[in-house]
Symmetry: C2
Subunit: 332 residues, 2 copies
């Protein structure tokens, strides 16, 4: 049996090999290079890993799950390219963002192209593979719904930044759509392609959702604590951009007046000094927000672990279980 690391690398290679001819055969070269830039820059390929291993755990074939897995990775890439324009981020996966390198007009269109290629890859796979064709409308439904939720989550995220008193409930609604929706679609499509019952598909949808929620909380934690090398983008950028994370919401709800003042001075304030940012990070930590968020994330991960038990015992279930441990460990 592969270790988790070996399996992630194996799937990353499969995705890369499958994707390459889809992104390199057309003109104008400048646009296609811009579109290929982010998918080529790597990433953990966690969603393809989840889809393929759920599919196999339920008795399905890897070949059938690979095209929708690549499509999900493209949906993720498309939304990141557009998000980075919106958030004015300069770095992603350790490389310049698309709009930084090619300008905003080309980045908008490059994101659109990745979006279409997701549908194109699933459509072409269905035309060649009867098993995919049988569930094509269901796969499309999962992708459509998840992508609509990502758009809604993106808008809610922006609205939350302008909300003076954001609540945890609003935060969880936002990340359910912005982050968990695509995890949910990945695990549900894995079950669909395996030809599973509606109940099994629903169990896996729920597993993906819980996993996605914990993943986002841990991302929030890393946004505060990780260094630039681990993160692939500048430290403290969540605070600089005024993002409402579980940490800042907790800190602003339960911090002392002094702590709150220090945080609000830097939160979303592009003109704040590096010293203001360090002070704000320390203030967030001193409210206990880090411990609080870590506990929440771990509780969700344990819930996801239980949801995994609905799968038959298998190497793939073990790998999925290991992945949960890996996701929590990222926050150490």
């Amino acid at each position: 049996m592969n270790t988790l690391q070996q399996e992630l690398e194996r799937i990353a290679r499969l995705v890369d090999i499958y994707l390459q001819p889809h992104m390199t055969k057309r003109e104008p070269a400048r646009l296609w290079e811009a579109a290929y830039h982010l998918p080529k820059a790597g990433g953990k390929r966690l969603r393809p890993f989840l889809m393929i291993n759920v599919c196999k755990a339920l008795g399905g074939n890897e070949e059938d799950a690979l095209p929708p897995a690549v499509a999900i990775e493209l949906i993720q890439a498309f939304s990141l390219v557009h998000d980075d324009i919106i958030d004015r981020d300069d770095l992603r996966r350790g490389v310049p963002t698309v709009h930084k390198k090619w300008g905003i007009p080309t980045a908008i269109v490059a994101g659109d192209l990745l979006h279409i290629k997701a549908y194109d890859i699933v459509t072409k796979a269905a035309m060649k593979n009867e098993k995919v064709m049988l569930v094509l409308p269901d796969i499309l439904n999962e992708i459509n719904e998840a992508t609509i939720e990502i758009c809604e989550g993106q808008e809610l995220d922006e609205e939350l930044e302008k909300n003076p008193q954001p609540t945890e409930e609003e935060y969880f609604d936002m990340i359910s759509r912005k982050t968990a929706a695509l995890f949910k679609a990945s695990t549900a499509i894995g079950a669909l392609v395996a030809g599973s019952s509606p109940e099994a598909v629903e169990s896996m949808r729920s597993f993906g959702h819980i996993l996605g929620v914990s993943f986002q909380i841990i991302d929030d934690i890393l946004g505060l604590t990780a260094d630039e090398k681990e993160l692939g983008k500048p430290v403290g950028s969540d605070i600089r951009e005024g993002k409402r994370t579980l940490l800042t919401i907790h800190a602003l709800t339960s911090g002392s007046p002094d702590e709150k003042r220090t945080i609000l001075k830097a939160l979303g304030n592009a003109k704040a000094s590096p010293r203001d940012f360090s002070k704000a990070v320390r203030a967030v930590v001193s409210t206990g927000a880090l411990d609080y968020s870590t506990k929440k994330a771990r509780a969700y991960v344990e819930e996801a672990r239980k949801a995994l038990l609905s799968l038959p015992e298998s190497d793939e279930r073990n790998l999925l279980d290991e992945a949960l441990t890996f996701i929590v460990k990222r926050s150490y």
Copy 2:
């Protein structure tokens, strides 16, 4: 039999009624309003008209063609919302553009949402309608390919603006993708939904393509000659934005050195005075570019008229023929 005008209005109503519940039932309201803004603002619904009438002329049903017709209208709307951000246009169909009213971040996401809803509407229709389900992968292929071409055409358009010596060949390649591709998809899908043979689908694809090319040339002419009320956007904006149209390319190729100088002074120059713009417009006209382009557009329309003859004689074929006359008349 309906007149063309009655038929266009009837189809516009059908499209609006079908679309409305898809755009008004979800939160956050701000995002969905922004997404619905352009489709609600009207438009000629020429592509749905073409799809539905091709389908009926080939013996198909209007009910089967309506959902993909709405989807094509949403693809058109999505690409316009993103185009307007790229071109910094403030007005479209006589109303403020989405980014002007809601800001660029929401406009990017609203465009993405329209894009997804196109796929969502086709997917849901296929799940309820066996005739649509039978050709679902073919419909998706047409939509995917057309939308990829729109993205490529958008990039080529920008590259053309920076090209000091753009040729007619480059121009026709650009508009084939940016404009004609979606006309081509509309007429091809009309034939697909009617259950037509691959040859009939190919004939209609070719009809839509030629029609789309003539439509764009006439749009270029109107961009120079129509007033703001007819156009729904400021006169001369093509020249202000530095767009390479058939008119400016012809003028820059065959104008006198004086005419060229006058045109280049205003073309793409945001700082040029209103007087510079008027002079540039007059210089374009004096090179004969207007006559040249009108002749070209008419030749394409007559070619499209011939392609129509592959359809069985029918009320719908007559309406499609009338539409060709209408398209040319716009340029008077």
